[in-house]
């Protein structure tokens, strides 16, 4: 259908089937000519080199000591900087709330559109992908009055940085939708739901105990993306004047560039490890399911 593989914007691409569905041993590389191999390696070295250079520079920059020596002082200083610790804590809390909120909002809705009201599936998809077409800075302009209202009328809760979870849920919708949708498509959701229902399970139980375990891969993928997005979010938190991790890094950049570069690198590495571990080892259940489906055919 329209959800073509090419439309996958997220790092969940492996989840989207492209990686998984490729039959084993397609091994194109072996058939490529030697010249092609040379070109490939050259591209890898040049482009990856360009991508790695600034990261290496960050490492070099953040470990500079007096008189050309190397030191990890900047990294040690992170742990003593209360602002950084507060920023990390705030961002992690927002991330947790965002993941929970996103799942509670999205999973039942998506299961429902598959099982009960397929007609609404396209509408829900459209709304979920809509944030891609509305830049974050534009959303801030429109949402600032709403947050101002919340701050004035909802007391301490309304003025808390944790309210950023509301808007972050919107920002992660496109990525979460695609990840969960890919998982839902890989199982026969309707039959599963019917089977559970006919055995006497209510809807909450059907979703939580039957559907969710089967789309674990998609949910995990959505959660990882949401966490990465929240930890990296700057535009909205800064313009609504909340001190999240990125805002703290930004401010720090003007006071102590060494520490701010150290924090940046640490955050990038953290996000990378999160995504890499997930790409490499995550999404197990879906993959196994898919292998079972594919074996008889191939």
């Amino acid at each position: 259908m329209t959800a073509s593989p090419g439309g996958s914007l997220s790092a969940a691409a492996p989840q989207g089937g492209a990686l998984v569905a490729r039959p084993k041993g397609a091994g194109r590389g072996r058939r490529g000519s030697r010249r092609q191999l040379t070109v490939r390696v050259a591209i890898l070295i040049v482009v990856l080199g360009y991508l790695v250079l600034p990261l290496f520079a960050m490492l070099e920059f953040s470990t500079r000591g007096p008189f050309g020596s190397r030191t990890l002082d900047s990294y040690a200083a992170i742990l003593n900087d209360q602002n950084v610790i507060d920023g990390v804590t705030t961002s992690l809390q927002i991330a947790v709330l965002t993941v929970i909120g996103m799942l509670v909002l999205l999973v039942p809705t998506m299961v429902w559109t598959v099982v009960r009201v397929p007609r609404m599936r396209r509408v829900v998809e459209f709304l979920c992908l809509l944030p891609l077409a509305i830049p974050a800075i534009v959303i801030v302009v429109g949402i600032a009055p709403i947050y101002r209202w919340m701050g004035q009328h909802l007391g301490a809760i309304g003025a808390s940085p944790l309210t950023l979870a509301f808007i972050n849920i919107i920002l992660v919708l496109p990525f979460a939708y695609r990840a969960i949708d890919a998982s839902l498509r890989s199982i026969d959701t309707a039959t599963l739901a019917d089977a559970a229902r006919s055995l006497g399970a209510g809807w909450p139980r059907t979703i939580v105990q039957v559907i969710v375990p089967n789309i674990r891969g998609g949910i995990l993928s959505a959660a990882v993306l949401a966490i990465a997005l929240v930890l990296g979010e700057y535009t909205i938190s800064s313009l609504l004047a909340f001190n999240t991790l990125q805002v703290v890094i930004f401010v720090l950049g003007q006071q102590d560039p060494f520490i701010s570069v150290a924090v940046s690198l640490a955050a990038l590495v953290f996000a990378f490890v999160l995504l890499f571990v997930f790409t490499r080892f995550g999404g197990g259940p879906d993959r196994r399911f898919q292998a079972e489906v594919e074996e008889p055919a191939g």
């Binding site: 089937g17 600034p54 960050m58 598959v114 397929p118 599936r121 509305i134 709403i146 498509r185 930890l231």
Partner: protein
């Protein structure tokens, strides 16, 4: 491939029929109830996505006192400052989208020809995910550490190679610097978006072309190229949107003078606005929505073509 399970019509299953049989009225109620279950989602999206958009759309056409006006919007076309920022933003987005698409496309091609579950490929995908979507402020600092006044490359060229090149790091804080950093995060985004399409190019097609005596070049010229063209164009448009909407990197690099739209909007939000211009920020935001919506419309049309072949 995966089963399009969702397209199986579910409501007519034995279970529903058994429960609701004979009572047309209750079935209609049930039908309404089915839609009611989606209400929380619609309410949420309505409150945090649709309402803000409406606030912008209405605000762009009203004065601060709430009277209808065309002044805000017409300013976008008449005030040279705003015309200029839109042009600069679009130029920046076009340039970096093209650069990112070329280098990212090449990288994707180099990566896709390896083992699909290989270490290199998964490493590159994970790294791309981080750099493309996580970056923002931190990438700006990465470039300060590289090409800034005390950056690695700057010092290397000045003190070790003794070349006067790039010594004046001021370029990094201008639109040129912005273009360089933007291109940097467009490359991994291109990889993520384009890789699945490249995966769709089957070995059989290549073999078929080769068995008919086609060279690698003629394969890409007559088969691979035309098939991938829509995906490539689609990716290009996504990259354009990405650069056009980017704010964090620009905010971190350029502290003085708002030369692109996103910075201008932020300025309008933060500062005490000149009386009579309170809603210009909303008009700018509306302008961005219009540009992105047009691009996305084009994207949807191209995607429809792309999905015909690459599946």
């Amino acid at each position: 491939m995966t089963e399009p399970a969702g397209d199986v019509p579910a409501p007519g299953t034995a279970e529903t029929a058994g429960l609701a049989s004979g009572e047309a009225g209750s079935r209609r109620m049930r039908g309404a109830g089915n839609y009611l279950a989606l209400l929380p989602f619609f309410l949420y999206v309505g409150l945090f996505l649709i309402l803000p958009t409406l606030i912008i759309a209405i605000g762009a056409f009203t004065t601060a006192k709430g009277q209808p006006t065309l002044d805000n919007v017409s300013r976008l076309f008449t005030d040279s400052v705003y015309v200029d920022t839109f042009i600069k933003s679009i130029q920046l987005a076009v340039l970096t989208a093209i650069g990112g698409a070329i280098f990212g496309g090449l990288l994707a091609w180099a990566v896709v020809r390896g083992d699909p579950n290989g270490f290199l490929r998964q490493l590159v995908i994970a790294a791309s995910g981080v750099l493309a979507q996580f970056g923002g402020v931190m990438l700006a600092f990465a470039f300060l550490a590289t090409f800034g006044f005390n950056g690695l490359v700057t010092i290397f060229l000045r003190d070790i190679v003794h070349i006067g090149l790039l010594t004046d790091a001021a370029w990094l804080y201008s639109l040129t610097g912005l273009a360089v950093v933007y291109t940097y995060f467009q490359i991994p985004l291109m990889l993520i978006v384009f890789l699945p399409s490249l995966d769709g190019v089957r070995q059989e097609w290549y073999d078929a072309s080769a068995s008919l005596g086609g060279s690698s070049w003629s394969f890409w010229r007559h088969v691979g190229g035309p098939i991938l063209a829509p995906s490539f164009l689609g990716a290009l448009l996504l990259l354009f949107t990405n650069a056009f909407s980017a704010y964090a990197t620009a905010a971190a690099l350029i502290s003085q003078g708002a030369s692109i739209v996103t910075l201008q909007i932020a300025g309008a939000l933060q500062s005490e606005v000149v009386p009579g211009q309170e809603n210009v920020g909303k008009a700018l935001a509306l302008g961005m929505i219009v540009v992105v919506a047009l691009v996305m419309l084009l994207y949807a049309l191209i995607q429809r073509r792309a999905s015909r072949w690459v599946q």
